[in-house]
């Protein structure tokens, strides 16, 4: 690493920091969909409780009740501990420090890909591929919506592949360096405790890379005695977290062939996959301009097939296999789609490589070649900034305006719930603008809040039916099985109505929602006196009114 690397990494870090911290300019409150609240909430509770137990607290466990495994966590604790540690470094700040952690960790892949490309193909390919990695729209949306541990886990992959490559190469060159295998195992622990599914992908890569090297060199690129320690290290460190995660997988696996046409696509989303635009090459990659260079890069790698090149080909093949496990009914697309986030890393790496490989097809003098390289680099940067950056910047900038996050009114109510009702009191809540907002209130209250807007309802009968369904659902909960508090949140719709200006339709919709909530409130509380009534939010205690 020399001066230009330090300069490039500094620029990449600051550019990423500026980009991913954009939502924090509008509001200090965290943002995202249910997944984001779910993960933020446990870290928030861990910080306050000052402990990281294996079992989840009751208020948290009610979100995804798993029967016998009611208190088993769906995500390993280390991710949350990292947020707690960062909050500690940030002086205990409840929002900003944790939000900044999320912003910085969202683009870790920029640095791991930079490292790999720098080691294999030099500075310029590293810079170009990393630059593009700031902007893939599906990663940006994963950051905004809350699939954040997946992004971190996937960022480990290039480093693990590098270590494995170094180890295999050292064996083939008769200068064994088992340290790289141990480093690969330790890095794999890091990936596994962030998001376990990535380990399957990494394992498939190992197998493919070994097979190709064996075919190419007719030698085994491993020593069996070296294979003893890394699995032990992995199992000792990551093993205890794995059963809890696997216990969340419902149903048995029945292998059968289906959707064979998916094999002819990189990833073909089923008709009912939410947000299909996230799987559209043109949308997520700033148009088609990277595709020719991706194909050129693949062709060049296949033609040259050095050991470094095989790393990328095995990576590509491993990801392809993982993205098509639904064909064998091993995973549904909802699961495989998470690994689709890893596509940008390999596509951009190969596209940057393919782009600069153009130079090898042109016969030029040394000086002319250097000038041509600078010209190509400049063109690539311009293309990235013109086509890839704007959608990413506007998505991040415009996402989660203050009303789409928890508001100060709602935070105040959440704090009141935290301080004034018992830990095991089930709370039914109706009224927040979105389901995610209700979940943020749930998380920040540290109380078991059941949102009443898990689906759209229109009439009082539907409202009552939804409430009864929730009442029935909580009967299976272990420590408390009845709803004892009600929250009616008119604040969002009141703000919406008051700020609607001349937009009569919006005003009418807000009024309609307020009326719906009010009907349910009258029906369930029979005009009792609320125990909290502030900022358009009311709380009632059931059975004592």
């Amino acid at each position: 690493m020399d001066t230009k690397d330090i300069v490039a990494l500094t620029i990449l870090f600051l550019a990423g920091f500026y980009l991913y911290a954009l939502p924090l300019a509008e509001s200090q409150f965290p943002f995202g969909e249910g997944d984001a609240a779910h993960k933020y909430g446990l870290a928030d509770w861990m910080y306050d409780a000052d402990k990281a137990p294996r079992d989840m607290p009751f208020f948290y466990a009610v979100w995804y009740p798993q029967g016998a495994d009611f208190y088993r966590p769906p995500n390993p604790a280390p991710y949350f501990i990292n947020i707690v540690a960062t909050r500690l470094a940030g002086g205990g700040d409840r929002f900003t420090a944790a939000n900044l952690f999320l912003a910085i960790s969202a683009y870790f892949a920029v640095f791991s890909v930079y490292f790999l490309m720098r080691k294999f193909y030099g500075f310029w390919t590293a810079l170009l591929s990393s630059l593009l990695l700031l902007f893939p729209l599906n990663s940006v949306m994963a950051y905004l919506w809350g699939q954040r541990p997946h992004l971190i886990a996937l960022a480990y992959a290039p480093l693990i592949f590098y270590c494995f490559h170094r180890y295999c190469s050292s064996i083939l060159d008769n200068r064994p360096r088992p340290i790289y295998l141990i480093l690969a195992a330790l890095l794999s622990v890091g990936a596994a405790v962030m998001y376990l599914q990535v380990i399957g992908f990494i394992f498939v890569f190992f197998v493919l890379y070994i097979i190709v090297l064996m075919v190419q060199t007719r030698k085994l690129p491993l020593k069996l005695k070296h294979l003893l320690l890394p699995p032990v290290v992995f199992v000792l460190l990551a093993g205890p977290f794995i059963p809890d995660v696997l216990s969340q997988q419902q149903g048995k696996i029945h292998i059968q062939l289906q959707n064979l046409n998916h094999l002819f696509h990189w990833f073909k989303p089923e008709a009912d996959v939410p947000n299909p635009f996230l799987y559209d090459y043109k949308t997520i990659n700033g148009g088609w301009w990277t595709l020719p260079f991706l194909l050129l890069g693949i062709a060049f790698l296949l033609f040259r097939h050095r050991r470094e090149d095989i790393v990328f080909l095995a990576w590509l093949a491993a990801l392809y296999i993982m993205l098509h496990l639904d064909v064998f009914n091993l995973f549904d697309q909802g699961r495989t789609a998470r690994l689709f986030l890893g596509t940008a890393q390999i596509f951009y790496a190969i596209a940057a490589f393919g782009f600069l490989a153009i130079l090898s097809f042109i016969s030029l003098g040394k000086q002319q070649k250097a000038v041509a390289r600078y010209a190509l680099v400049a063109v690539f940067i311009v293309l990235a900034l013109v086509f890839n950056a704007p959608p990413a910047v506007s998505s991040i900038k415009e996402a989660y305006q203050p009303l789409m996050r928890m508001t100060p009114y709602q935070f105040e109510a959440a704090q009141w719930l935290e301080n004034n009702i018992p830990d095991n009191s089930l709370v039914y809540m109706r009224g927040s603008l979105t389901y995610a907002k209700a979940r943020w209130i749930h998380m920040f209250s540290h109380k078991p809040v059941m949102p009443g807007n898990s689906r759209e309802v229109q009439t009082l009968e539907e409202e009552i039916r939804l409430f009864k369904e929730t009442e029935d659902n909580v009967k299976s909960f272990p420590s408390v099985s009845y709803i004892s508090y009600l929250v009616f949140d008119y604040s969002d719709y009141s703000i919406l109505r008051d700020n609607a200006g001349n937009n009569q339709m919006l005003k009418q919709q807000a009024n309609q929602e307020i009326e719906n909530i009010n009907k349910l409130e009258s029906y369930l509380t029979r005009n009792a006196t609320p125990i909290y009534d502030r900022n358009f939010i009311k709380v009632y205690k059931l059975g004592n009114s």
Partner: protein
Amino acid sequence: MGLAAAALVLFGAWMIAGLTAVRVIAGMFVLFFLPFYFIMRNLDIEEDERIFFSFFLGFGLIPVIVYYGNKIISSLRVTILVTVVILIAIGLALPWLKKAKPNSQ
């Protein structure tokens, strides 16, 4: 050059997100990078490998160690600090131990 870059990063972070950002970045450096960097200095690998691996290893392994440590030390925050201090101490002690080893034979 490294120090200038670090200063620039902290200054940039301060401009973008204020003093908390400086604390968070400096904190992440101390919590996740330094402990494993001191340990990795004792390994026969290249310097850039050391730098990149240290951060990712720290980010992945320190919380795992903290999780287990929290079974012994009841306070999570204290466990984090103790873990980081112990790892840094191990990293700093390793060269001494390496030197001491031949003498003891």
